[in-house]
Amino acid sequence: MIPLSAYVAVSAILFTTGLLGVLIRRNFIIVLMSVEIMLNAATINLVAFSHYLESMQGQIVALFIIAIAAGEAAIGLAIIIVVFRGKISTNVDEMNLLKW
């Protein structure tokens, strides 16, 4: 029997990896991929607790997370296409269109 803390540890490591990816990468698309890693880490947590506490709620919320991730990917990639059409670099530290 695998302890619950093993799943939580895997989830914590993945979440930290995703958070670091958001902070250190310059390419906007990789930043969005790192957000997906963080969402996956949250999903692992929910499903693990759902299994060990014998409740269905975690799996339902995990399904909602996947739906939100799909919407987030669509909007984020549309924003990248708009920014790229303006011949602006897609590096996040050079994007300052909205800066006053």
Partner: protein
């Protein structure tokens, strides 16, 4: 046996996650993300969530990742030599120290709570998809409808954002 499978899925998903963040070529990052998603879905199977496994493979690996790769190929970005942020070294050490402290706290935590009615035997009686469906369309029907409206709005918004603006000449004709 279960421990071997868990170790495989956990180690490969962590390594794939690190590769997604660390690799230079964005397409290779996307393929590492694919490996991560598939092995996380393996973890779902080990947790008796077969329906989530199917959804993860179909929606994440099948739809979202294809969208990412499609945009990557469409834009044809040239990779910068400096693909990490300038302040990366100052972020790495706090992240690693914070992660070690977090793991220390997690291993010591007891993790207990009130148990629900969906034990493994009860789920295996009719299958996971049946259990998820019954729960989703009885207790979570309103949230399900809200997420449907949210997804429709998000997709329409994405199309409106990404639609090519009409050029000035055609606008003058109209």
């Amino acid at each position: 046996m279960a421990f071997v499978f868990f170790a495989y899925f956990a180690v490969v998903s962590i390594v794939a996650g690190i590769l997604t963040v660390a690799l230079k070529n964005p397409v290779q990052c996307g393929l590492a993300l694919l490996a991560l998603l598939l092995h996380v879905s393996g973890l779902f199977v080990m947790l008796n969530a077969e329906f989530l496994w199917a959804v993860q493979v179909i929606v994440y690996a099948g739809a979202i990742l294809v969208l990412y790769l499609f945009v990557l190929m469409l834009l044809n970005l040239k990779t910068d030599d400096r693909y990490f942020h300038a302040r990366t070294p100052y972020l790495l050490a706090p992240a690693v120290i914070g992660l070690i402290y977090l793991l220390f706290l997690l291993v010591r935590s007891p993790f207990s709570g009130s148990r629900g009615d969906a034990s493994t035997a009860a789920i295996l009686l009719n299958g996971d998809a049946h259990a998820v469906g019954i729960k989703m369309f009885s207790d979570y029907l309103l949230q399900f409808e809200i997420i449907g409206v949210f997804l429709t709005g998000a997709i329409v918004g994405a199309i409106v954002l990404a639609k090519a603006p009409r050029s000035i000449e055609t606008r003058r004709d109209a």
